[in-house]
């Protein structure tokens, strides 16, 4: 069991640089999720940790060892792939035992580990079946079993739930969470699904175009996003962004002239307001002209535009509510929940 340290990692394919200086320290036993949109470099980063991609510059430490030049098999890691990568001609038991067999681990030790992992994952009855005789969820569990029996220092997951249907995904991610807590192995999990990231991770590393936007706990990312990107990425439905101008007298002036308190300085800013933080208020300053409603049962999402502008906004009302099309609904928001970002850099202000 060991922690993982990433120091100033760069990766280029020929002339194209895809990762620009990734830093991070992952504690022993921590479950870190690397999340970001497609093409941001998260799978490349994971593969560099695994040893399947060469590091262009920078260092990777597993525990105290620098592993840049080590083959994947020597790094003491185990990886679970998106499409399971099970060996189709071998039974489940043989799949799980393969890596151990190559290492020359004695047969009874192999059997012990395989059966223990099979018990944890509840795949005992499938041990002698071939992968093609299993469902997607079962295969995924076999892939995890294969990783567990290695007893590695680090678990690596490459979007393992992407091939499963929605309901199974929810079930499996809870199982993965419980498994990791039980085994206490340092884990790095890559996904593009922010809900998955929020539920699974002790800490999240948000990547965008090869840069680390923020690395913190889910709540930190939700309550204090450091950049515009993180603010818009975390939270569903996404945060509303409104351009505004900070006035000298501590007031923020929106496009439509409405003023709210809370300015942190003069200049152009972008305000962020989460749909769930907007509270219905007849006299509230934020007035939305409704266009479409989404009835979700537990809450109602009101889609519309800020009155007097074309800026689209979404607000969340509790329970089931009816709002007529074109009707203007007033909202207010607590000052602390108004996030402010610099227009030019996207960095958080305050």
């Amino acid at each position: 069991m060991a922690g993982l340290t990433l120091k100033n990692l760069y990766k280029s394919y020929g002339k194209t640089e895809v990762l620009h200086g990734i830093d991070g320290v992952i504690e022993d036993g921590e479950f870190v999720v690397i999340v970001g949109p497609s093409g941001c470099g998260k799978s490349t980063l994971l593969r560099m940790i695994a040893g399947l991609e060469v590091v262009t510059s920078g260092e990777i430490f597993i525990g105290e060892r620098m592993v840049n030049d080590l083959e994947p098999a020597d790094r003491d890691i185990a990886m679970v792939f998106q499409n399971y990568a099970l060996y189709p001609h071998m039974s489940v038991r043989q799949n799980m035992a393969y890596g151990l067999k190559i290492r020359g681990i004695p047969k009874d030790e192999i059997n012990r580990r395989v059966e223990e992992a099979a018990d944890i994952l509840e795949i005992r009855e499938y041990l002698d079946r071939k992968p093609r005789q299993l469902s997607g969820g079962q295969r995924q569990r076999v892939a995890m079993g294969r990783a567990i029996v290695r007893e590695p220092e680090v678990f690596l997951f490459d979007e393992p739930l992407s091939n499963l249907d929605a309901k199974l995904r929810v079930q499996m991610r809870l199982e993965i969470r419980k498994l990791q807590q039980r085994l206490g192995v340092t884990s790095v999990y890559v996904t593009h699904d922010q809900v998955e990231a929020m539920t699974l991770g002790d800490r999240l590393m948000v990547l965008n175009a090869g840069h680390v936007e923020q690395f913190g706990t889910p709540i930190e990312l939700y309550e204090r996003p450091q950049t515009l990107f993180v603010a818009g990425f975390i939270g569903s439905p996404a945060m509303n962004f409104l351009p505004a101008e900070g006035q000298a007298n501590g007031v923020l002036r929106l496009e439509n002239g409405v003023e709210i308190t809370g300015s942190r300085g003069a200049g152009e800013v972008i305000l962020g307001m989460r749909p769930e933080d907007l509270m219905a208020d007849e006299a509230g300053p934020i007035r939305i002209r409704a266009s479409v409603l989404e009835q979700l049962g537990a809450n109602t999402l009101v889609h519309g535009t800020l009155e007097g502008t074309d800026s689209e906004m979404v607000a969340s009302l509790p329970g089931t509510q009816t709002v007529a099309e074109g009707q203007v609904v007033g909202f207010s928001i607590v000052a602390e929940k108004v996030h402010q970002f610099d227009s030019a850099s996207g960095q958080r202000l305050g």
Binding site: L52, M79, F81, A85, Y87, P88, R132
Partner: protein, 283 residues
């Protein structure tokens, strides 16, 4: 909607029956001819029903001395020669091609694509085109009248290499990566994972190459001059012109029947393997 046109159905079946008859009839005649005595075969019309000499003729042919006036090796020995040649060619081709395909797909080395195209170009050089140089090389190596001389020049195969390359390209990269993480080196990966996954292709290829090797005529004809190295396919032709008398059709037909047998057996036995493989799709 299912078409219900009895006339067309009848016509279709008729066409198929005619096709089957066209193909099966010559084989039937061969079988019939093999079961009569020599005298009956010189009479007109040719018999359409089998006689009673089948086992007698077979014994005579297999153990030699079937034809008068010639020094002929027993048929079983010639079948053995053919078998050795066909097996060496098919197994040799498979072994060489699978390893070449493995190298080309999974390794990066200088001139990799150059080698690939070189192999591709050899498709334009079947045996017939290169017969003189190949003969000279084999003769100078002292391989005339030997099993090595019969098989070696026919062993390299571009088509088999391509086929295995295609098979390997369809194997997902994640499987290779998973094997790497498990600690499998290249040869281990080849032996434990690639080979089992290529089983059905190897079976299918074996059938095709075995028949190819068994039916070789030109090359064995050139390379073997000793009577005891003749293959059965070559000897069939020789039998027609061997005796000073008219050809003994019953014996010749029996030999032809025996010559057809091993490829048929190979197809029958291998068929189970590759149908089984084709129906088991795996992820």
């Amino acid at each position: 909607m299912v078409e219900h046109r009895p006339f067309l159905t009848f016509l279709t079946h008729l066409v198929m029956l005619i096709g089957i008859l066209l193909i099966a009839f010559p084989i039937w005649i061969t079988f019939v001819a093999a079961s009569h005595e020599a005298v009956r075969m010189t009479q007109v019309p040719l018999p359409l029903l089998p006689g009673d000499q089948f086992w007698h003729n077979m014994k005579a042919m297999l153990l030699g001395s079937g034809l008068k006036g010639t020094e002929v090796t027993p048929v079983w020995w010639m079948m053995f020669n053919s078998l050795v040649m066909a097996l060496s060619i098919s197994l040799g081709k498979i072994a060489i091609s699978i390893i070449s395909a493995f190298a080309i797909v999974y390794f990066k080395f200088p001139f990799r694509m150059g080698f690939f195209w070189l192999i591709f170009i050899t498709l334009m050089l079947p045996v017939e085109v290169r017969i003189l140089p190949t003969f000279e090389v084999v003769a100078n190596l002292g391989l005339l009248n030997s099993y090595a001389g019969l098989s070696l020049p026919l062993i390299a195969s571009a088509t088999a290499t391509f086929m295995f390359r295609q098979v390997f390209l369809t194997i997902p990269d994640e499987m290779l990566e998973s094997a790497r993480i498990d600690g499998a080196g290249p040869m281990r990966f080849f032996w434990d994972i690639l080979l089992p996954l290529s089983r059905t292709n190897i079976a299918a290829l074996f059938v095709i190459l075995f028949i190819y090797g068994w039916n070789q005529y030109l090359w064995p004809l050139l390379i073997t001059t000793d009577a005891d190295m003749t293959t059965i396919v070559v000897s069939l032709k020789q039998m027609l012109t061997a005796a000073e008398a008219t050809p003994e059709w019953n014996i010749i037909m029996m030999t032809a029947l025996l010559a057809m047998l091993p490829p048929i057996l190979v197809v029958i036995f291998m068929q189970k393997l590759f149908v089984k493989g084709l129906t088991e799709t795996d992820k």
